[in-house]
Amino acid sequence: MAALGPENGPAPTTETPAAGTLQPQAAAVAGSGVVATMNTGVVGGTFWRRFSLRRPLAALIVQRLGLSVGLLFAVSLMIFGGVEALPGDFATTYLGQSATPQAVENIRKDLGLDRPVTERYFSWLGGALQGDFGTSWASRNSVSEQIGKRLGNSLFLAFFAAIISIPLAIGLGMLAVQFRNRLPDKIINVVSLAAISLPEFFVGYILIVLFAVKFGVATFPSTVYDSMGFLERLSAIALPVATLVLVVLAHMMRMTRAAILNVMSSAYVETAELKGLGAFRIIARHAAPNAVAPVINVVALNLAYLVVGVVVVEVVFVYPGMGQYMVDAVTVRDMPVVQACGLIFAAFYIFLNMAADILAILANPRLRHPR
């Protein structure tokens, strides 16, 4: 996202061709005001230019929103196209030994695979926009219903991992800056480096061996059921959350440290030092606000990872989340499920990065308070 921004600039003349390829789809589902602004062509051009001069901040944010929506449609196209291009076929996998041409043909007809590609894409996209991802080919259940539960579980896990790891990472980063190149900094560095270097399944198994098997203080497997209470769930996810925290902590911590250190060498930090301020006040009040943008970016990246990239952790801890669901669907070529998971993952990634971009824009005093 961040890389896309500058090229597409605020000037409407460059924005229209950039969004050009996406316009047919965008028009087909017209509804969002953002898409409408992008489509208004020449007339909107002057309006947009006036708007971006008068409210530069709002213009930048609207532009980011527009780009995100455009990107999401591009991704939907790629997911659909990619799944279409996959070798193998649900019908043959499903029928196995008894795959006669006639049976395969019947199943394909059943699933509507005989319709043209464009028609299937638009009906899928139209459904997806209303929250209906169709029916699973394998289980014949509604995909949305199944995903809803799984997504809830994944977000539950990600949420707790995030509220522990983000403050911890930023706090440790600041601590490392304050004691830079001294013992606490070195300890934080080595430990976090070790945690990031070990693959997550290994960290997971070590935690299981230690806490579930040896000391018996944690629950394993971490499977959660509908009937479980909140506290029961919490104790069930303790180990996967710990694993995830260890995995994402180092990245955010090191980025915080680097960003703040970079700011620490600036002239205004010297000014703060020459005002006789305490070390912690210098870091928290004078360095941190100027290091926000890179930190927000790395936090967003890790949040996205927590939602999207936890397949391995879910499998290790037998946790019924989105990742495991998608892997299962891929093995049986259950395309509606694969597409739905892909689109939801992409949406999370794009949304989080967009949020990071917008927050970084808001954190810049030059944009927040124009001359």
């Binding site: 002239a267 205004y268 006789g276 100027n290």
Partner: protein, 543 residues
């Protein structure tokens, strides 16, 4: 009664760690002693690298970069602040001693409002309550002549101009009622017309608050206006130390004498200025975003003479140079060279048209490839324009090195192994290598120390006599214009204010802007600032 600040035998060293080599220790300051009385101003003057800032920061027990104070005493009210612990030093900084940095634009935190930053030290050191501090900040904004003092504190650093920021920084230093303020080149980065305002504001504020000050600068004329005593430094050692009057009017040392007389080069203008080697006719130019930076500018330059273009930053003088070189094609008007019209854009010009006009930049550092030797840097245009290679090329490079008074031993050096003045000389040789008719000099001396700059100017004049090359000399320094120009063009906000022979342009009757510009240039004369301010007051009273 003891002096407020007494520094005895100060010795400051810096350790650098070049990769792959043993650590190197350099002595920055050696055996410097001085003292400042309550309410007095000591001017500290010297070239870059003389250790001025390092000495100034020692009054706050601070070492910038790897610098550390290894010997001597810094007595504040009779107490050595170097022996205080961390907490003790913190209670001195921002409370008893405050610091004003050269670049206020970098020294203010972009994330906070100016007002908050100005009163921060006063609040953190519990010198005053928030309402008291705010009241004092308001008072200081008024004293320093900032616009809309009531709301000035609510602005962010990027919302005010450079001159205003510098004054806000002074307000920040004055706010906690310190006993001593260290001013580190507070007006160097400003235009002359802004400098005089800031200088007057600082002087007024010091008098008003009875604060003592260390005033660090490389400009003797500036320090003469503001200080009671002057200390001249060179290579980290004291050269001369005395009252302002004695140092300016009867310097005892050769080095100080050289500094005092540095602006006294003068050259008479050519009598006949009718020739038009370069003729700029009604040129206007705009940048890609439609922002117009030059409005209908016309001037000309005779062969073998020097045209000085003066103006403040933003006046369009560098843009005019870009238009002449073809880097920025003009939107209107035309440029003729030797009677023929130059194609507006760089791409349309022939190799010979390119050869005729060469350029020297302000920052010689960034205008040279750091990975090429002097031989390659000067040799490149020789090969490019004349197709000369091998021994012949080396011969020509040596000849050029002789011309710029450097000699063969510089052939295989890299730019990093040259001093600032030597780099600028190499840049001149590179321009000369093409045997151009015209050299555009874009502030070639403004990043250099006065004595080095003097050397470069003399070299340029010598080369003009030898090769009859013409110069367009862009500068903001009237003293340089007086020294070397034949004709002068004064620019302001993209328009030509005044153009003609030097004697005409620099003598009355003046237009308002040229008058302001000329009167703002500090002169090496005690009491000059008061005189200028007094005339200004009389004029405004008369109006």
């Amino acid at each position: 009664m003891p002096d407020l600040l007494t520094v005895k035998n100060l010795k400051i060293e810096a350790t650098s760690y070049p990769p792959g080599e043993p650590p190197k220790t350099v002595t920055l300051v050696d055996g410097v002693s001085f003292s400042v009385e309550k309410g007095k101003v000591l001017g500290v003057i010297g070239e870059s690298g003389a250790g001025k800032s390092t000495i100034g920061l020692s009054a706050l027990a601070y070492g910038r970069g790897g610098a550390s104070i290894v010997g001597g005493e810094v007595l504040l009210n009779g107490k050595d602040i170097l022996t205080l612990g961390r907490g003790g030093i913190r209670s001195v900084r921002g409370c008893k001693v405050c610091y004003v940095a050269q670049s206020a634009a970098a020294a203010f935190n972009p994330a906070h409002k100016l007002g908050e930053q100005v009163i921060e030290a006063s609040l953190r050191h519990k010198i005053m309550s928030r309402p008291e501090a705010e009241k004092r900040a308001l008072y200081l904004f008024r004293v320093l002549g900032l616009p809309n003092p009531d709301t000035f504190g609510d602005r962010y650093p990027h919302q005010v101009s450079g001159g205003q920021l510098q004054r806000a920084m002074t307000a920040m230093a004055l706010c906690p009622n310190p006993e001593l303020i260290v001013f580190d080149e507070p007006t160097t980065a400003l235009d002359v017309t802004t400098q005089i305002d800031v200088l007057a504001a600082i002087k007024h504020a010091i008098e008003e608050t009875h604060t003592a000050a260390l005033y660090i600068t490389h400009d003797l004329a500036v320090v003469a206006q503001i200080s009671d005593d002057i200390m001249v430094l060179r290579y980290g050692k004291t050269v001369e130390y005395g009252t302002t009057q004695q140092v300016i009017e009867a310097p005892a040392q050769d080095y100080t004498r050289a500094l005092v007389s540095v602006r006294q080069t003068k050259r008479d203008e050519a009598a006949d200025q009718s020739d038009k080697l370069l003729n700029i006719e009604n040129v206007s130019a705009a940048y890609g975003n439609g922002f117009k930076v030059l409005h209908d500018v016309s001037m000309h330059l005779p062969k073998g003479q020097t045209l000085a273009i003066v103006g403040e930053s933003g006046s369009g003088k560098s843009t005019l140079a870009r238009v002449i070189t073809g880097l920025l094609p003009p939107s209107e008007g035309r440029i003729t060279f030797d009677g023929k019209q130059l194609p507006p854009a760089l791409k349309g010009r022939s190799k010979d048209e390119l050869r005729q006009v060469q350029m020297i930049y302000q920052m010689a550092d960034t205008a040279m490839n750091p990975r090429q030797t002097v031989r390659d840097i000067i040799g490149r245009p020789i090969t490019f324009y004349y197709g000369v290679h091998g021994a012949k090329k080396t011969e020509r490079v040596k000849e050029l090195l002789d011309q710029i008074e450097l000699g063969d031993r510089f052939l295989d050096r890299y730019p990093a192994e040259l001093s600032g003045g030597q780099k600028q000389r190499v840049a001149i040789a590179r321009a000369l290598a093409a045997k151009p008719e015209l050299i555009l000099c874009d502030e070639p001396t403004s990043a250099l120390d006065p004595l080095v700059a003097e050397g470069i100017l003399n070299l340029l004049l010598k080369l003009q006599e030898e090769t009859a090359v013409s110069y367009v000399f862009i500068t903001h320094d009237i003293a340089i214009v007086r020294a070397i120009a034949d004709s002068v063009a004064v620019m302001h906000r993209g328009r030509l204010v005044r153009f003609g022979a030097k004697s005409k342009v620099l003598s009355p009757p003046f237009d308002d802007y040229t008058d302001l510009l000329l009167k703002s240039v500090p002169e090496m004369e005690i009491g000059w600032l008061e005189k200028v301010l007094a005339t200004r007051r009389m004029e405004s009273a008369g109006n």
